[in-house]
């Protein structure tokens, strides 16, 4: 059990770091594509957690959820890119700060 030598905290720290990178991306960037990537990062951060805990507890449920999240992420990317395409068609840019007309 090589893996067992790595304590759970390490995984958590890694996952938190990846998640923060994702959030940082969302909070600071304006390009919708970067948004999409950041969201992917955050989802994968969650995945790391799920899998790490699944391993830690010896319970496969977490891994199943990880698979679900991947599928979901794929679907999300498909829809997300579709939205971005429409966004570009309507606003001539993929800058998310410009598309504010849905607010009220």
């Amino acid at each position: 059990m090589v893996l067992g030598a790595v304590p759970a905290e390490y995984y958590l720290v890694l996952s938190a770091a990846v998640f923060c990178v994702g959030i940082f991306g969302i909070l600071t960037r304006e390009n919708a594509l970067i948004f999409l990537m950041s969201v992917e990062l955050m989802l994968n951060a969650a995945n790391i957690n799920l899998i790490a805990f699944a391993f830690y507890w010896g319970n496969l449920t977490g891994q199943v959820f990880g698979l679900f999240v991947m599928a979901l992420a794929a679907a999300e990317v498909a829809i997300g890119i579709g939205i971005i395409l429409v966004l570009y068609r309507n606003f001539d840019s993929v800058d998310v700060t410009e598309a504010t007309t849905l607010k009220w």
């Binding site: 959030i23 909070l27 600071t28 700060t97 607010k103 009220w104």
Partner: protein, 680 residues
Amino acid sequence: MAGVFAYAPAIAALPFVSFVVALLAGKYMPKKGALAGIIATAGSLGLSIAVLVTVFLGETYNETLYTFVGGDVPFELTFGLLLDPLSAAMLVIVSLIAFLVHVFSLGYMNDEGETGLPRYYASLGLFTASMLAFVFSDNLLMAFMFFELVGLCSYLLIGFWFRRAGPPSAAKKAFLVTRFGDYFFLVGVVGVLTTFGTAQFAGENGFPALAETVLNPETTADAVNTFGFEPATWFAILGLLVLGGVMGKSAQFPFHTWLPDAMEGPTPVSALIHAATMVAAGVFLVARMYGFYALLPTVLAVIAFVGGFTALFAATMGVVKNEIKQVLAYSTISQYGYIMLALGTGGYVAAFFHLTTHAVFKALLFLGAGSVIIAMHHNENMWDMGGLKDHMRVTYLAFLSGSLALAGIFPFSGFWSKDEVLYEALVHGLGGSPLLLGAYAMGLAAVFLTGFYTIRMVLLTFHGEARSDTAEDPHGVRWNVKFPLAVLGILAAVIGFLNPLPIKKLTGLEVDFLHQFLDSGPEALLTSSHHYSGLTHDYAGYSVGTIGGGEIVTLLAGAGASLGLALLGAGLAFALYRGAEPTRHTEKLGGLQTLLMHNYYQDEYQVWLAEGLTLRLSGAADTFDQGVIDGVVNGVSSVSLFSGDRLRRLQTGIVTNYAALIVLSLLVLLGVFAALGGWF
């Protein structure tokens, strides 16, 4: 003869039918409903006379006929008939006057080509029906209900000529002022019902009898609910409340202001209102429940003073008026003051006697005035008349008979009744109730003024030279005007002999028929006049006092004083206004004349109460309502809208901002959990 009582409800039902007929079919009928009214009132008159005869023969009737509300209630509300000497006599008076007024209307309305006659005759029929039903009511609630209907009909009739501005306003005023009085009356009715559990006028279970048992220290009575007051105090309050309605309808000070305005109505209506229906209803009510008032010395004193004061007060205003109907209007107020004076001083019979004679001579005077008005092409100003006696003989003679009766000149009817009223006030004042002498003095002073304004009116209208073109060639009148005048003219001269008290006292002959009649009837009804005098003696402390050499001297002194004053007033008027071209002496009164012409500014302050005060208050209430109350309601909605408007600005539409908010919230939440969970 007692079987006639079974038909007694028809006395009121017949005019009611004429109301329905005139309303629905009047415009298709030959005289536009008049015939229905005449037939109906003639029927009522016949039935009333039959009832009177039956009552005279010693039968009375006091039955509940219809239960208005029954079942599981604390007290039932019922309709019924009370036919005793008082109501039987009043029924005859009312139906007689109503009948004559209907006949006269043929001349005054139909012959003059008025429109809207079905409405007129319908209202007249309902008016008569309500008054008759009021008269034979056996309880206070029923009396109140028909009292109100009388008010409605007077509203409709005073406002008959609704196309002009004046009549609707006068009608409104009449209804409102009397309604103000009726408000107190209704409180009184509710009070009487809740206090005694009954509102019956007569019999052992009537409320006057119950009140007597409560007040009588010798009997132990079932306790009545006096709402925490001493019984005597509470009864006095109830008596005063009911009196409010009486003063409103009978136009007693300060509720008299509606009556002169009511002259806007057609003259036959004025005759009916003043002589037999609306105004008479008030004082009749006091007579009807005299068994209750006789127990209440304070209320009696109030009645006496209101009456005496009104008699004098109204007479002063009558002195300066220029329209014939205005003079008559103020004389009505004044004469009803006398009736109140009599009631207040224990003169129950005297009051009804004066009510009777007044009904006759006042109906006569109004119908006579109506005849004059027809002749003058609806000009009512006496200064445009003059010399009419040569053109209208019947009217003049009848009018003169009525005027002499009004002035109280021997031997016309008014003399006998007014004399008896003053006599009652005098002897009871002397007999230990000196306060009443004050009311007596006012009544006596009014005699002089009455004599003055009456003769002034006659002289200005009928004597001297014609002062206008119409007066020189007046419009003729037909039989339908002359017939009622003739009937009433004769009655006004002779009806005083119903009850010539002085003759009885002087000669010992039993000629006081009205006294005997009102004293008859079964003891159990408790409505006989000796029962009432017993009550005023026991509870109000009224006893007969005399001056000098006893009753005869007092009687002669009183009669002499009133006759002398009446003659003095008449003589003064004669001296001032005789001759071909009388001058306007009232102008010499200066400021006093202005005051009198403005009726002591009574109308002004009452209009101020209505328009200046109430209307302004309601305007302020409206402003408050729209501004503050509705303002709060709208304010709540504005605050919601405003805060929503501000809050929605959080929703910028920029995804980054939402994400930042989410992150921040998460951090805050973490911080809170950390602080509460003790992670540090």
